[in-house]
């Protein structure tokens, strides 16, 4: 085996230029693979984190009927006390109780339907971090009476600016239409089209007052210290409050789960394409190497080298090619990921389009350490697969014919 490895290794450098082209394609293939994995992961994380951090949080609690029938009357019994109690749970980072209804948001010039959230600003800020996403005005800091925060796009639709008056109309507890006049205190720009285009945030006390509710918590949003602890917190809450609807972000927004699996499938297709390109590159090169050495292989067979050893010689040669290219590609990928992980990829040129789909304009590629191992293993397997056909061709040769090849 040592001699086979020696021959294979020296054969790699026999056609230096050709071997360097294959090694180069392996390096680029691995780098592209790592970059794609990092980029797509970054995309997914950006999208899902954006949705969790600014919109849906990790866990939401509702009255059992509220999701099916979002009647303003379906409040969580003892909602404020429950929210208060949950703040003491060490696994929960922040809790925000909300009042929630649907209605019309109207300016003197236009109207638009949307969700109206009644929030406690300090609590809401700690869960959704909306205060950091205010582009104009402030997050419930002004002295305005009846302040409302609306999405920037909604403001454009309604043709309102800061301090403009808008009227919110919704049903009260008795299903009567009620309305309240509010002043735009801040404009919000998030990665969520839903929030940007069709949401209004007012103080909880204002919403409950206008709706005539004594107790007005329809939704409690929880942000966890560690997303992994969802598997502990969720069952605990469900067993402690069987009468309430308690859902994780995956249940609240199944489209995120769908997006995850779609991105995953897309990623596999891309990986497949890169691997197939790599396989064909390797097959092409190794086949050339075999055909070029036809007479030599014939001689080896003539003097008594068995087919298995010839097969292995070609396979080992291919493995050597990938062992040279593999680490370089992985190192380049690692360095690229490290650099981009720190700097981010500025996609602000496409920010309008990206925001439409809920992405932020700076993307931070991310790749798990285990992925490097998978990539390395994938490349070696690819190289092995690529070696099979040329090695098969090599052992199929007829030594008599091969020896007379010019």
């Amino acid at each position: 085996m040592k001699m086979l490895a020696t021959i294979a290794w020296r054969n790699v450098w026999r056609s230096r230029g050709r071997s360097l082209v294959v090694i180069g394609s392996i390096v680029v293939g691995i780098w592209a693979l790592i970059f794609m994995l990092g980029f797509m992961n970054g995309f997914m994380i950006s999208y899902i984190n954006g949705a969790i951090k600014h919109e849906i949080s990790h866990i939401q609690i509702h009255e059992a009927n509220f999701k099916k029938d979002p009647n303003i009357g379906f409040v969580i019994p003892g909602g404020m006390d429950l929210a208060e109690f949950l703040t003491s749970n060490p696994r929960i980072q922040a809790v925000s109780p909300r009042s929630l209804t649907s209605g019309m948001i109207s300016s003197p010039r236009k109207s638009s339907g949307g969700r109206i959230y009644g929030v406690i600003p300090d609590r809401e800020r700690s869960v959704t971090h909306h205060d950091s996403l205010i582009t104009e005005g402030s997050y419930f800091k002004s002295d305005l009476k009846n302040p409302v925060i609306i999405g920037k796009e909604l403001a454009n639709t309604l043709k309102v600016r800061l301090n403009s008056k808008v009227v919110l109309t919704f049903q009260d507890r008795e299903n009567n239409l009620v309305a309240g006049a509010f002043r735009v205190a801040g404009l919000l720009e998030t990665t969520s089209p839903q929030i940007n285009k069709a949401s209004a945030y007012i103080l909880m006390e204002d919403l409950t007052r206008i709706a005539g509710l004594k107790e007005g918590v329809h939704e409690i949003a929880l942000l966890l210290e560690n997303p992994e602890s969802e598997t502990v917190v969720l069952p605990d809450l469900r067993s402690a409050h069987p009468d309430l609807l308690i859902e994780s972000w995956r249940e609240i927004a199944p489209e995120l789960e769908l997006f995850l699996s779609m991105t995953d499938s897309f990623l596999w297709v891309l990986i497949g394409i890169i691997m197939i390109a790599l396989i064909f590159g390797i097959i092409n090169t190794m086949l050339m190497a075999v055909l070029e050495r036809y007479r030599e292989l014939g001689m080896l067979m003539a003097i008594g080298m068995n087919k298995w050893r010839i097969f292995m010689m070609i396979v080992i040669e291919t493995i050597f090619l990938s062992l040279v290219g593999g680490p370089i590609g992985i190192l380049l990928g690692l360095m690229t990921m490290y650099w981009l992980g720190m700097q981010g990829i500025d996609l602000s040129a496409y920010s309008e389009g990206l925001r439409e789909y809920g992405y932020s304009s700076i993307l931070y590629p991310y790749i798990e350490n285990s992925s490097y191992v998978y990539v390395a293993a994938g490349v070696i397997i690819t190289a092995l697969l690529g070696a099979l056909y040329p090695a098969y061709k090599a052992v199929q040769l007829n030594p008599t014919e091969a020896l007379h090849t010019v």
Partner: protein, 235 residues
């Protein structure tokens, strides 16, 4: 036709025929070839191009199968061996020397010689001693660590002969071994092989139309159109 020596017969062909099918035309390369070669012979198979010399050598060497007839080498009918058995048989019984030298270009002269012994699983210390001794015998000890591309044609062919000898085969088959060599190199190589034949008792069979080889041979088998026309044993 004269009879051959009374030594132990190592190669025996009976009614060997070989037909090649080139496109739709059948080419009869060998017809009813009966040949016995004994241990220690220095035999040249001669004849014009296309007479069947190389075909006969390939059949004797187990590289090709006859279309009809039997071929016994070292007492075994090699035409009945499986591919893998035949490769193994060649490894342990036959040494090959080719017209184009056919050394492994990425190995040094010494590694080329040792390669066949590695395939035979000969212990490393014995392998190294044997390769150096043989290279010294042919005056190439100083070139032991250079690759074939740095050797002259004659030197490469001497390495090829040493490689064939290193495996301690029962006989050596040499297909036009001097065809690419100048006169001095050819003479040198032939002297070396004749010496090996006389000193070691190694059996040599050449296919050639090189008069220098024919002059050195102690037996000359002439083929024409696939038929043995004459078989001359020289004293």
């Amino acid at each position: 036709m004269e009879t051959v020596t009374d030594k132990k017969i190592v190669i025996e062909t009976r009614d060997i025929a070989k037909v090649y099918h080139d496109s739709k035309i059948a080419v009869q390369a060998l017809r009813d070839v009966d040949l016995e070669i004994s241990e220690g012979e220095f035999t040249a198979i001669v004849g014009p191009s296309g007479s069947g010399k190389t075909t006969l050598l390939n059949i004797i060497g187990g590289l090709d199968n006859p279309t009809a007839g039997t071929i016994k080498v070292a007492g075994r009918d090699i035409s009945k061996l499986k591919d893998s058995e035949r490769i193994d048989f060649r490894l342990h019984n036959i040494g090959f020397v080719f017209q184009q030298y056919n050394l492994i270009p990425v190995l040094t002269a010494r590694e080329n010689v040792e390669f066949i012994m590695l395939l035979q699983k000969i212990p490393v210390h014995e392998m190294k001693a044997r390769s150096l001794h043989l290279l010294e015998e042919v005056g190439l000890k100083e070139k032991a660590n250079v690759r074939p591309s740095e050797l002259s044609g004659g030197q490469q062919q001497r390495v090829a002969v040493v490689r064939a000898l290193a495996s301690r085969p029962k006989f050596i088959l040499a297909d036009e071994p001097t065809a690419n060599l100048d006169s001095a190199s050819a003479a040198n190589l032939l002297d070396m092989m004749a010496r090996m034949n006389q000193e070691e008792g190694m059996t040599f069979i050449f296919s050639t139309h090189d008069q220098r080889v024919i002059d050195k041979a102690r037996r000359v088998v002439t083929l024409e159109d696939g038929i043995i026309k004459s078989d001359e044993v020289r004293s």
